[in-house]
Subunit: 703 residues, 2 copies
Amino acid sequence: MDLVLIAIVLGLLAVVYGVITSRQVLNSGAGNVKMQEIAGAIQEGAQAYLKRQYTTIAFVGVVVAVIVYFFLGPILTTGFVIGAVLSGVAGFIGMNISVRANVRTAAAAQSGLQQGLTVAFRAGAVTGMLVAGLALLAIAGFFYVLTTQMGLDLTVLEEKREVIDALVGLAFGASLISIFARLGGGIFTKAADVGADLVGKVEAGIPEDDPRNPATIADNVGDNVGDCAGMAADLFETYVVTVGATMVLTALLFTGLASDELKALMSLPLLVGGVCIVTSIIGTYMVRLGSSNNIMGALYKGFITTAVLSIPAIWWATDYAVGMGTSFTVDDMTFTGMSLFWSMMVGLAITGLIIWITEYYTGTQFRPVRSIAKSSETGHGTNVIQGLAISLESTALPTLVIVVGIIVTYQLAGLMGIAFAATAMLALAGMVVALDAYGPVTDNAGGIAEMSDLDQSVRDKTDALDAVGNTTKAVTKGYAIGSAGLAALVLFSAYTADLKEFFPNLEVSFSLENPYVIVGLLLGALLPYLFGAMGMTAVGRAAGDVVVDVRDQFANDAGIMAGTSRPDYARTVDLVTKAAIKEMIIPSMLPVFAPIVVYFAIYWATGSQAEGFAALGALLLGVIVSGIFVALSMTAGGGAWDNAKKYIEDGNHGGKGSEAHKAAVTGDTVGDPYKDTAGPAVNPMIKITNIVALLLLAALAAG
Amino acid sequence: MDLVLIAIVLGLLAVVYGVITSRQVLNSGAGNVKMQEIAGAIQEGAQAYLKRQYTTIAFVGVVVAVIVYFFLGPILTTGFVIGAVLSGVAGFIGMNISVRANVRTAAAAQSGLQQGLTVAFRAGAVTGMLVAGLALLAIAGFFYVLTTQMGLDLTVLEEKREVIDALVGLAFGASLISIFARLGGGIFTKAADVGADLVGKVEAGIPEDDPRNPATIADNVGDNVGDCAGMAADLFETYVVTVGATMVLTALLFTGLASDELKALMSLPLLVGGVCIVTSIIGTYMVRLGSSNNIMGALYKGFITTAVLSIPAIWWATDYAVGMGTSFTVDDMTFTGMSLFWSMMVGLAITGLIIWITEYYTGTQFRPVRSIAKSSETGHGTNVIQGLAISLESTALPTLVIVVGIIVTYQLAGLMGIAFAATAMLALAGMVVALDAYGPVTDNAGGIAEMSDLDQSVRDKTDALDAVGNTTKAVTKGYAIGSAGLAALVLFSAYTADLKEFFPNLEVSFSLENPYVIVGLLLGALLPYLFGAMGMTAVGRAAGDVVVDVRDQFANDAGIMAGTSRPDYARTVDLVTKAAIKEMIIPSMLPVFAPIVVYFAIYWATGSQAEGFAALGALLLGVIVSGIFVALSMTAGGGAWDNAKKYIEDGNHGGKGSEAHKAAVTGDTVGDPYKDTAGPAVNPMIKITNIVALLLLAALAAG
């Protein structure tokens, strides 16, 4: 059977799993009337936000599509549209299941921790499998249409170029939508969260998720549009870009292979993605609490099942697609199917290690979180200092893991080894996203339990589920940026290979001895900082708007605080929506325009196109070298701050209401935009910068 | 007259200026008995700290000297010893004048703002001119002995190598001492500051510098050992490394010049340093308040005088040493003396722009500080979020300035253009350090005024002087790291040139297409993060010790809070001393061992020496590309937080004691280790990494 068709069938399997599992979630009890009323308000707010966000994105998307069409032709534009639409769909479906599962998780938690975990995790699994399935379907389906239906021949230079362009277009569409979704959703969720906390917990002295707080629905809406829809779009993008880049690099490097062999090698990432959907689905059924009620342990069971089963599955896929003993030669390097298999094993190992390291840095039972909790005893300042120290430190081990991964896979199979390691990492996306997407569901479930006055025991259960959610949320971000560390090399190679193909007579020096390379590295390294600054400022500003609105509601209706009249939740949701949409535009444009500006500026300053390309290439690596640290430090640090607060709330260092707790709330507030706005958006930002550079090359070559 | 002799004479002039001006400072009135008593305690504490720090450093220094002697021979070791000793001397003298000027500034401020400014600035000028003078004397004197007394001929490969080795040794000695001084002093000053604030302001509710606080003397000692002695050692190092690297690069690149011509070109940086000592001295006499009492304006007058006079001075030096019209050729590039002159003008412009940008980000009259102050109204969390956003943002403009500087100077005169721009930046060190070193004097003066119950009007004057000090302190750090951005390229070129000379048959690829280059970049980029984490953690831990000690003193003697018995200041000073010395060792060793470990690890993993050198070279650039952002963000962010607090204390947003003020105190506490411990120590760390790489090359070649 055609390899690509197998991948398509397995992609469809993920969709079928999604449909069946979402039915199961929806069939679970939806709680009492009050709970449903609250959940309805959250649902309504989330849909209103997403509608407005998608309208804005659609507008930008159409403008970009027209420009792309004008400069780069119909096939690339088609890819762009497919990538953009499916990235949006992944986010939309994820959010829709999330806003329905939240209340059902709260209801199920009334029966027990296992029941709550089951509903929440199933909801996460729906999002996870749909992200992986839709991403696989997008690439495999498009590739199938191009190479089989349209009959493009990969050994004919011009036809191969069309396939490459199509895949780059697909990646661009996915990335552009995902940066908007990540950033818009991230600004929404943290503006609402920080605003609600400031005016509720700090000023009015009412607990989190108190129904008297007008911003509380907005806060819960935020979990869904940021942590769920934004995250889903982001991981969809990471999947498409990583697998797409591996295929593009294969097409660019293997110029001597026969058509069938090349097609088989290009299809291998798709087949690996397909078989890992099967192993991910099996893994989801293994998530159950043991006798110790260890939630993280239950999730680990699912992940480990998937990872272990993926070993023979990837073996089979490699052997079936290209043959274990088949040998390939690129430049001076010769390797076999077996080398690719081992490279993918390294990818699985990296994924496992990053999960483990992230748990260490964000779990309540280890030194980092406890050191932040302890430092809260001496005040707000020391809490933040220790949190920043941990966030800086947390970059070390993941970087070492990535570095060792690069060295080992490069020795196994050169650039293809690195590319396949990244592919194998993303092949587990279904499972990893499932672990992540369960977080916002339990977070919301806790909110609904609080607002509808459920028993404290229910809230205890949702809190326990949520604390683990903070870790799994950090895991996905570390995993996404870690894979970006590997994919960056692949994307950069695609850039240099493209450059040689488009401008064969241009001598471009990417040596560190070339000062324009240093200039590019510095400018690239600046981007995550500037982008982070914009994201943090946006959250601060939008949160300020929330505070003003809530103060105004309290001032105009004393009944709200008395509990006799209902606050105008929709007004706050609407306000945050507008603020988030407005704030997301400019930072999202930064990575789109930066590569273009840098290329032309250096070209203009030096009069040399080669130096322009050298600086642009260095920019691509500068943005990853700096971005990986900014993103890792922000996401792990934010998770650690959040869980240090939870650790204190569990009764340590004086517990809730103590001075240490107040300091920990400050740390949590600081960590919020770090981990949920600026940090995670760095990942799509890196990808966009890289893809825009590829598009620029194509446009310059065409012009 | 011999060019080098002129430089030596001008270096001596700086020392003479230092002696005369310090007499003037010491002849100023030293205040009443109580003031002198307090100043005596600070002096005693500072000397005790420095004695212990120097003992420890001496121990490490002797061990390192023996290793260096064993592997690299006597000349390099001699350089090492001279650099180390003079770096220590610069810090020692700076601190000694500072601990005497503080009380005199407080006394003079009783007469008026101008009088206070004069004493404090003169003290700063002594430190500044001694740093520049001693640094110039060290390089010029050593160079004179080598080339004239010992008669080493620069056109004979082996004799030139001895001169290069000597200069590298000098730089290594200076750097090693300065990282200890920066880090040890930085940990001391901020542990004492944060600890005193936490237990004083926050717990006991007594004002800053209240004599009842046992940690208050330690806090004031810290200003002297960290902001003065540590800073002086750091800038001494920056001067020696930058000017030394320019000379080394000249020696390595210009292999075709006649002996006299080469010596003249190598002496030009020394002569430029010399003439700028004269312009700096003239500048110091221009620092006076105008009718508007604008302190920053008064300091600007001095700086602008120096900068403007330096233009003709550098013109003369260039023309006298090498001739404006003389043309040189390196590789394919030809340039003239005039090109070098213009490159140095760019260096002056970069210095001016960095000062101006730093003032914008840390001055109380501009948007950044005001935005942090405003965000304090909504609490601790939003203050920190906004501060972090500003700290991220503050990296953008300096980076652009450095990038434009690199492009312009490279086009003017290739690598030599970049090297001479960095040299011109450091030539102004006398003036820049003078502006900086005035800060801790006024900070101390404020403390003494408070502790000895001087009139509030005196405290107002010292506070006004101190607020400007926060900006000038940030300026020096931005300036040091900015010059490091340029010097990094010079040091990297020295590394590649050395590599070619030592291993002529080794093909090393520094291209970004080489994965080991990426590995090196990532590991290099990690170093500032890890180093920053260690520095922040050390401050947190040592501050915790202070809190425990002070609580203990309060508990055991109720008379302290009542004001009837004197706290045991010396005990706290001693405790912080021990903690700081203990904590400084491991982080200081990180940049020493990292290059060695990375080289051997990659060599071992790949079996290729060339890849080991490629990764090591990339590490050198990774550490600067990441370090520049870490350092800039930390130093500017910390200054902004500090001045946001001062802005609120001036009566804005509710003034002292308001909720906004409490939030601003938290921000200030967070900013403390950022700006005074971790951030500034990144600069010597970058240099050490680079120098150790050069030493490793030499050792491997010799072995």
